[in-house]
Amino acid sequence: MLRHLPPLLALLAAALLPALGASPYVLGIGITACIFTVGAASLNLIYGYAGLLSFAHLAFWGIGGYCTALGAVSLGIGFWGGLALAGLLNAALAVLVGIPALRLNRHSFVIVTLSFSLLTALVARDWVAVTGGPLGIPGLPAPELFGLSLRSPPRFYWLALAFAALSLALLRAVTTSRIGRTLKALRQNEPLAQAQGIAPTPYKLLAFAISAALCGMAGGMQVFYMQVVDPLILDFYYFQTFLVMMIVGGAGHFWAVVIAGIVMTVLPELLRATAELRMVIYGALLLFAMVAMPGGVAGALESWRDARRRATAERPDPVTAAAS
C-alpha cells in the first residue's frame, strides 16, 4: 500500500490547487497538463511497452473529440455518454486497424497507422453532414454532474484531474501487471514468447485498444475544454506533443512520462511561448533527447545509476577487506 502513497499525495496536492486561489489561467494550464499527460501515457503503453509506434493516436484523439461532441449534441447521450462511446469506439477501431497493421511487421504498423490518421483528417473535413466540415461543431455545452455545470475553471479542472487520475491508474494497473511484462517480453524476443505459449497479436491488440480508448477520451476532454471541435483537433501538433513528452521522459518508464507530460505543459507557459515557438522548442528537445539520451531522462538516469552501482561493486567491500 505504501507504494501508492506518493502518487496519492501528489493527486491530493493537485486537487487543492483551486482552493489555494489558483487563477483561471493557472487552472487552464493544469487542465491541459491533465489531458496531454493522458495522451502521452497512452502512447507510452503502445510504444514504450509494446514497442509499436502508432501514428493512429492522432486519429483516436480526434475521433474521440468528435464522438464525445456528437454524443452530447446529436445523439442525446450527453457528455458522459459521448465520452464512454469515444472510449468504446476507439477501442473497436484500434482492433480493426490493428489487425491489418500487425500482419506484417513493426514498420507496416507505422505506415498503416499513419495512413489511418491522414484518412481520418480527410473525413473530418469532408463529411460535412456529421462533422460540420471545416467549421466543426461549435458551442459545445458544459459537462454536467448531478445537474451541476462543470464549466467554471475550478470544476473543469477537477473533472480533468479525476479523468487523468483514473486513466493513469488503469494504465499503471496494466503496465505493472504481467500483461505489461509480457508486452516488454514480446518486444525483446517474440519467438521466445511464442515458444512459451504467448500469442503475440492478442496482446498487442489489447495494448493498442486500451491505449486508443484512453487517448480518444482525452480528445473528448480536450474539445469540451475548448467548447468546440473542428478539424484542428487532428492537427499534427497534438501528436507531436504526446510523442515528445514520451520520448523525452523515457519510453517504457511510467512515471517519467507522466512527469514529462506535466513539466512540458507547464514549462512553455512559464516561458510564455507561442504555439510556433513551442513547436520549435519541442522539436529541439526531441532532437536533443534522441542524440544525447536515447532512453529519455529516465533512461539516462537509469544508466547513470547502473554505472554508479557497478563502480561501487568493483570497490572492495570494506568489511570483507578488513576481515581478510
Binding site: R181, N189, L192, Q194, A195, Q196, G197, A199, P200
Partner: protein
C-alpha cells in the same frame, strides 16, 4: 517407458528455396525417456525441431504429440499443448531479470486470464506463488540463485543456456526439447546438468535433446536418433548406435571397414 510414444514424427520434410534441410525425419520419443538427436552439422536437426515446435510448417509429413496431430500448429499452441523447447542460439528476455524470465515462462500455462492479471485475482496470486517457488528451486538446481535479480542479458553464454533450460522446465511441460543445451556451458557444470536432467526424468519428465557432445548423449539417453543429410539414419539404444557402421561413416565420412 512403454505405451504409445509421446512424440512421433512421420516423414517430415522441409526445404528452403531449394535447400533440402530435412528430407525425411521419422522417429519417436517414448514417454518418460531421454531421447538424443545427433548428426553432423547441417544435417537438419534444428530445422526438425522448428518443424515439431511450430516454428516452421513442414512441407510434408506429420507431427503427433501424445496422439494429437499438431502438424502446422502455430508455436504458441504447440507450447500450450505441453511441448517446450529451447533454441540453439540462446534466447532470453535480456532486459528482464533472470527471475522474471522464469516467471514469464510459466505464465501462459497457468490459465489466469487478462482480467485476473489486472485485478490481481486470488487465482493469479496462487499461480504466481507456485511459479516463484518453482523458479527458486530451478535456479538453485542450475546454481544461479545469486543472479536471480540480474538482467538476463548480463549472464555469460553458458549461464544463459542454463537459464533457458530452466525456463523451458518452468511449466512442467509434457515434453522438453533442447537444442544443444550444453554448448558453451562450463565443462565442470555439464555433469551437474546431466544429473538435473536425470533427476527430472526420474520424476517423469520426457526429454528430446540435440547435442554435439556425443559422450554426454551416450551417457544420458535411453534412445539415440541419428540424422544424416536431412533424414533419420538410424535409431536405437546408445550402445547399438555407437557400433553402427553407418553412424561411423556419417560422422567420419569414410566407409567403415567391413
Amino acid at each position: 517407458m512403454n505405451g504409445a510414444p509421446l512424440l512421433r514424427l512421420e516423414g517430415v520434410r522441409k526445404s528452403f528455396r531449394g535447400v533440402h534441410a530435412v528430407t525425411d525425419a521419422s522417429f519417436a520419443v517414448a514417454r518418460g525417456s531421454i531421447t538424443g538427436l545427433i548428426g553432423p552439422n547441417g544435417s537438419g536437426k534444428s530445422t526438425t525441431i522448428d518443424c515439431l515446435s511450430g516454428f516452421q510448417r513442414p512441407d510434408a509429413g506429420r507431427v503427433l504429440l501424445d496422439g494429437q496431430d499438431i502438424t502446422g500448429l502455430p508455436a504458441h499452441l504447440v507450447a500450450r499443448a505441453g511441448l517446450r523447447r529451447s533454441f540453439q542460439q540462446v534466447r532470453l528476455f535480456d532486459a528482464l531479470s533472470l527471475r522474471d524470465n522464469l516467471m514469464q515462462a510459466a505464465q501462459a500455462a497457468d490459465g489466469v486470464g487478462w482480467l485476473g492479471a489486472v485485478l490481481r485475482s486470488p487465482a493469479l496470486r496462487r499461480a504466481e506463488l507456485a511459479a516463484a517457488e518453482r523458479a527458486w528451486l530451478l535456479l538453485d538446481q542450475i546454481g544461479l540463485t545469486r543472479l536471480a535479480e540480474s538482467p538476463a542479458g548480463a549472464l555469460s553464454y553458458g549461464q544463459k543456456k542454463l537459464a533457458a533450460l530452466a525456463a523451458a522446465l518452468m511449466p512442467r511441460p509434457r515434453l522438453v526439447v533442447l537444442d544443444e543445451p550444453m554448448a558453451g556451458v562450463n565443462p565442470s557444470r555439464i555433469v551437474e546438468v546431466e544429473a538435473i536432467l536425470r533427476r527430472l526424468n526420474a520424476a517423469g519428465e520426457t526429454f528430446l535433446i540435440v547435442e554435439h557432445n556425443v559422450d554426454c548423449i551416450m551417457r544420458l539417453c535411453h534412445e539415440v536418433v541419428v540424422f544424416e543429410q536431412g533424414r533419420t539414419l538410424t535409431s536405437g539404444p546408445p550402445a547399438m548406435v555407437r557400433d553402427d557402421p553407418r553412424v561411423l561413416e556419417a560422422y567420419l565420412g569414410v566407409p567403415a571397414a567391413a
